[in-house]
Symmetry: C2
């Protein structure tokens, strides 16, 4: 007997039904926004990551040499691939480019709740617009997708900031501050005591007073206070941009899901403007559910013309944690509209009914294992069949079949010619008894 690999999951049908409903909601919402589906390779040249990220990411890659001597890797994220695709057809693609896809990625990481080594994401990106409306559309899509999953503002919030705010404020100090170290301190401040947090800021070059002042300023999330405190063009532009994005988000109907949170730094590399993370409003899921933001330098770094970009990527390992916490994770349950039960040699008649019901789009099963009445009824129950149509030799002599409602147990005989007859979705309620 063989085992699956650690960090990789087998998803059986009942659980898959809940996954599929979740993914469909995200994707249907993306389609309504005019995002277009793409399909991308599982393998890329490892250089797409090693050239840029160096050792940080290499340890996490499933990288190897293929039979042709290429140094390849299972892709740990989508962005370099879409950047490569945008560069390859830069001229022919009409802008803005709006793409989505749902697919697995792979990272060799510690396995824990909400983190597997194979994990699915729905990536949603816009290339070719630097306008605040593009950032806002990404946020509005994410909000619409989550409310489409029956989450409300009581369940989730987008904590939103602009990458230049923290850096700009830190730069405005006359002391020599290690900005990256200070931002890293902010990034993990919610896991630290105040003293620990301040110590890290002091370690980054601030004085004790400056550390306290900076931490307080950041914690208030007061954009006007930040603007006047720093007084630099960089901070002014960042605050203006963040406010413009929030204005567009208001028009797009998603403002109530956004909270200004200057502690949201979302790492150091990669992002260039607005950044945000989705959190459980109630705080029961303590980690970020997913995040996104603007990354205007990426396409150029892959050899393309400068192309602004903004995106988000809900992950299907963490999103269920939030949906389950909120009590809106879809039922892990398969469903079946009809089971057509055969008694005796009634296959031809049963098959006719099966075909007609399937042509109407229903989920229909029938016996393909030569089983008894009882075994078929048990099976119909195991697949949660709503209605069982019993096609028996004796009934057929009277040109009848029996329709059984599985919830109530009620059943009635109906003319075989009227099942399904003209009806789109006949149930026991359609027939007089």
């Amino acid at each position: 007997m063989y085992d699956r690999i650690k960090g990789f999951r087998d998803v059986y049908p009942a659980e898959m039904a809940a996954w599929r409903e979740t993914i469909d909601t995200l994707e249907d919402t993306a389609r309504q926004y005019g995002f277009r589906e793409i399909s991308t390779p599982a393998l890329e040249r490892a250089e797409l990551w090693t050239d840029k990220s160096g050792d940080d990411i290499v340890d996490e890659l499933y990288a190897f040499e293929d039979q042709g001597g290429r140094h390849v890797t299972l892709t740990p994220e989508l962005t370099p691939t879409v950047a490569r695709m945008v560069v390859a057809k830069q001229q022919e693609l009409s802008k803005p480019i709006k793409w989505f896809s749902t697919r697995p990625f792979w990272r060799y990481e510690q396995v824990q709740q909400g983190r597997q080594r194979e994990f699915y994401q729905t990536n949603v990106d816009i290339f070719g617009s630097s306008e605040p409306e593009a950032d806002a559309e990404i946020l509005a899509w994410a909000a619409d997708a989550l409310t489409g999953l029956d989450l409300t503002e009581d369940h989730f919030e987008f904590r939103i900031s602009h990458r230049d705010i923290l850096g700009g404020v830190l730069e405005s100090y006359e002391t020599d501050v290690d900005v990256d170290d200070a931002i890293r301190a902010v990034d993990k401040s919610d896991k630290l005591s105040t003293a620990e947090y301040h110590d890290l800021l002091i370690g980054a070059g601030l004085s004790a007073d400056q550390a306290a002042e900076f931490a307080d300023l950041v914690a208030t999330g007061d954009l006007e206070a930040v603007r006047s405190f720093a007084g630099t063009e960089r901070v002014r532009d960042a605050v203006d941009n963040l406010q413009a994005v929030l204005g567009a988000v208001e028009d797009f109907g998603a403002r109530e899901h956004c909270t200004i949170s200057l502690e949201t730094a979302r790492g150091l590399d990669y992002y260039t403007g607005v950044v945000f993370e989705c959190f459980d409003s109630a705080g029961e899921v303590s980690r970020s559910i997913f995040g996104g933001g603007r990354y205007d330098d990426m396409i150029e770094s892959f050899g393309g013309q400068p192309t602004p970009a903004v995106g988000v990527a809900p992950g299907h390992a963490t999103l269920p944690l939030l949906l389950q916490r909120a009590g809106v994770w879809p039922d892990e349950r398969i469903s079946t509209d009809y089971y057509v039960l055969q008694i005796g040699d009634t296959r031809a008649d049963a098959a006719r009914i099966v075909r007609e019901l399937r042509e109407r789009g229903h989920v229909v099963e029938t016996d393909i294992a030569g089983r008894s009445f009882g075994a078929q009824l048990n099976y119909a129950d195991s697949i949660n069949a709503e209605t069982v149509v019993i096609v028996g030799e004796q009934d057929l002599e009277n040109d009848e079949v029996t329709v059984k409602d599985m919830a109530s147990g009620d059943q009635t005989q109906v003319p075989v010619s009227s099942f399904p007859g003209d009806r789109t979705r006949p149930t026991i309620a359609d027939f007089d008894r």
Copy 2:
């Protein structure tokens, strides 16, 4: 600039639209049959293949050692994985188990038309029924899926046989025949001259007369002739089973798509009963489009209880060749229901219209790049928008918007309150001019 890896494809939105339509048809049909979706890992322990297949398959694997020292491989096919999953939950799963999934697989092979190193398949399998109705349901699903793609019996045929027929007939010779060699000869007979074919059969141990006789018998596809020629129980059972499957296929409405073809051997290992391959009826696509059959020994070979199995796996590299040849490959074209065009500062009103149209399920885009009237109209054209709703400052002063039909170029002004108003999908035809 980075290149993609040879044998791996970037699929852009227009082509993806055709793929998606094709995959949806296969999957929707599978759901109607009561097949249940599963999700499976991209990586498995390499032993799942090397233990069984030895060197034949090893050369084709993307196998490597992971960071934890595991000998793993990108999966080249689904069957060992589902076998593993069935074994893992043998007791709790109600039989028959009916599963489907669409996902990529990977083989390091020569790249050619219809064959990439990363390729997608929709696998559809039944575990736990040895009855002919199970084989027939697989064939009926495949036929329904293909007719759902607008293919007819003029376009495709399933060439069907039973694995024991060739072997059983060869066994019935008193000479010492290498059955595997002879079946390999039959398998490639359509690519050989008659003389070459006979020579291979002679090489397998038949006399010249026997070779000619055997080749003729197999070519006729006459099941009764085969039954009486061999006279063994093995051949009798195989013919009976094949006829029973075809009888059930008749009831299931797919008989016209099946042709008895005893030359269909479908390799040597793995299959244990009925086997079939889908071919282009007109012969323009010369290779098999996809195949399937019964593999009753697989689950046991993976350490499970003996569990009969039958399945099929249309591949999304070869299926398009057939659809294109038949002229029914879906348009490689994105589609958009509405583009909401903004002139001046009309974002709030435009956004309201966008939201209401999206709530009705439509694909709707609006300006997120701060562009001019002309640039927006060009973009709307590039995404094949059917209707453009022009929200202009001047029109809004009269509480009007302009509705433009992109096919005809006709446009008309309508009250802003009536767009979309009560209408599910308003077009220019809904408004008097």
